[in-house]
């Protein structure tokens, strides 16, 4: 579980995050949504410890990040898995080497054990024939799956995904969403996903935090988001024609 209290972050005097407080629960897919420029990426990078907040605190399973020494922070990072927007695979390494990288870095396992573990996670993300391929030789969806495999190979406690569906077709997006949700429940980890994809919100949004101009404007679940009267949320959710029609139908049904 990750607890965020009154988080503030600014760049060159411009405030980006303006006092965000929320809780991301274990075993759930937690979504951060909002328009571009609302502070989602800064929030996610603050959760990862890549940005130091000026005010506020982030606690991981009851331990505040600010109170940890360097060694504890490093250990915490080894318990985190991250799926980047562009996958961020090491392009000079094969798929197998990419997934094996965290194991090589932080475990003393034998090569055989590492290979077995890589096989397990690649199988888990439905990639069985891509071991020896380079990232440039596989599709965007496959790259995302490799990134997920790399993120979970070391059995992390926390999984972070930055726009995991970016650049993917709707069908592949659903596959990736479902995969992340299944892994979250299977491994019982705390997953935080940064997205503005409404399909993901509907599919896997067990907990949603909506950001607007650096503030937390709303939080709830995918069941509640279509019923809320919060103007900022409705403007965001019903910005597409499809969702406008869904809302119309919903209101007609209600009346």
């Amino acid at each position: 579980m990750i607890v965020v209290e009154d988080l503030h972050k600014s760049f060159d005097g411009t405030p980006i995050l303006k006092g965000i407080s929320t809780v991301f629960e274990k075993g759930k897919t937690n979504l951060i949504i909002g328009q571009s420029g609302s502070g989602k990426t800064v929030f996610l990078k603050s959760l990862l410890g890549l940005f130091t907040p000026e005010q506020g605190a982030i606690s991981y399973d009851g331990v505040s990040y600010g109170e940890m020494d360097d060694e504890q922070q490093r250990k915490l990072r080894q318990e985190m898995g991250m799926v980047f927007q562009g996958s961020a695979l090491f392009d000079s390494m094969t798929v197998e080497e990419n997934v094996m990288f965290p194991l090589k870095m932080f475990t003393n396992n034998s090569k055989r054990e590492m290979r077995d573990r890589v096989d397990v996670v690649l199988k888990r993300v439905n990639l069985v024939d891509a071991h020896k391929k380079f990232p440039s030789e596989i599709s965007g969806g496959m790259q995302k799956r490799v990134a997920i495999a790399r993120a979970i190979v070391n059995n992390p406690k926390y999984l972070f995904c930055d726009e995991p569906n970016s650049g993917l077709d709707p069908r592949t997006s659903i596959v990736i969403d479902n995969l992340v949700q299944e892994i979250t429940q299977e491994y019982d980890i705390t997953t935080v996903i940064n997205t503005h994809d409404m399909n993901s919100v509907m599919e896997i949004g067990q907990k949603i935090v909506f950001l607007k101009d650096g503030y937390k404007a709303w939080e709830g679940s995918n069941k509640e988001i279509f019923r809320t009267d919060n103007e900022a949320v409705t403007n965001f959710v019903y910005s597409s024609e499809l969702f406008k029609k869904v809302r119309q139908m919903y209101q007609e049904e209600k009346n």
Binding site: R77, M80, M82, F84, Q85, D91, K104, M105, F106, F160
Partner: protein
């Protein structure tokens, strides 16, 4: 102010490079790969340039010796001094700032742009140690390349002057031996070690701290080449004054 901040950031980077080391089993392979990429990968261009520049130095010296009172062995002497003292260590390093420096900046810069460095940091890896330290160690082999450059520069000088009919092989060889000071070789290799460090770290700095996209990677490579060359030239002056000045 901007430059002072950049210099401070550069030294903080160096400190970070030597802290929190990566596991030796991984580092060993990274170092071997960098030796191959940075040193052995540069030998071709270095051999080509050294041979022909050595030849040109010898021919230019011969053509400018108008007085019949000047001994012909001066061609060998001038070639040796030019190649050992300046051409091999300094000008080859400037050429390497273009070849090796651009490679380092663009490869690290691309990793920054594609979030690969962020991925390393999120995993808890010291990205500076992982990326820059093997380059510094690999560049310790750079003096080996420079010694080849020295040898080929003098060989080129011999070929240019003897085969061009400006002097005889005996006179050229005699010139090579006149007033030879082993300290000059020490001076030359001292410079080379310092330039090797500069060649590994300044381009790494420009790649690691770059911001933006693909276009900025290109700009960072150019900036890195300019600053690496400037620093090499300034250090060359300082070291020469310190080791050879009276």
């Amino acid at each position: 102010m901007k430059y002072i901040e950049a210099i401070g950031k550069y030294f903080l980077m160096i400190k970070e490079v030597f802290s929190r080391p990566t596991k030796w089993s991984i580092m060993k392979n990274l170092i071997l790969k960098e030796i191959d990429d940075l040193v052995f990968g540069s030998l071709g261009i270095l051999i080509f340039i050294s041979f022909f520049v050595g030849g040109v130095v010898a021919i230019q010296t011969a053509l400018n010796m108008d007085s019949p009172l000047l001994p012909k062995n001066l061609i060998g002497f001038a070639t040796r001094q030019s190649v050992i003292l300046e051409f091999a260590p300094t000008f080859t390093s400037i050429i390497m700032a273009g070849k090796v420096g651009s490679y380092i900046t663009s490869s690290i810069g691309t990793m920054r742009v594609t979030e690969q460095i962020d991925a390393l940091e999120v995993m808890g890896v010291n990205a500076l140690n992982y990326l820059v330290f093997p380059k510094i160690i690999a560049m310790l082999f750079y003096p080996f390349a420079i010694s080849i450059s020295m040898f080929l520069g003098i060989l080129g000088g011999w070929a240019g002057s003897v085969l061009g009919g400006f002097t005889t092989s005996a006179e050229f060889t005699e010139g090579l031996q006149i007033g030879f000071l082993p300290f000059h070789v020490f001076y030359s290799f001292t410079k080379t070690f310092i330039f090797a460090f500069v060649l590994a770290t300044i381009p790494s700095y420009h790649g690691f701290y770059m911001r933006g996209g693909a276009l900025e990677v290109g700009k960072a490579s150019t900036t890195s080449f300019v600053w690496t060359s400037v620093v090499i030239i300034i250090l060359n002056y300082i070291i020469t004054q310190m080791l050879l000045g009276k």
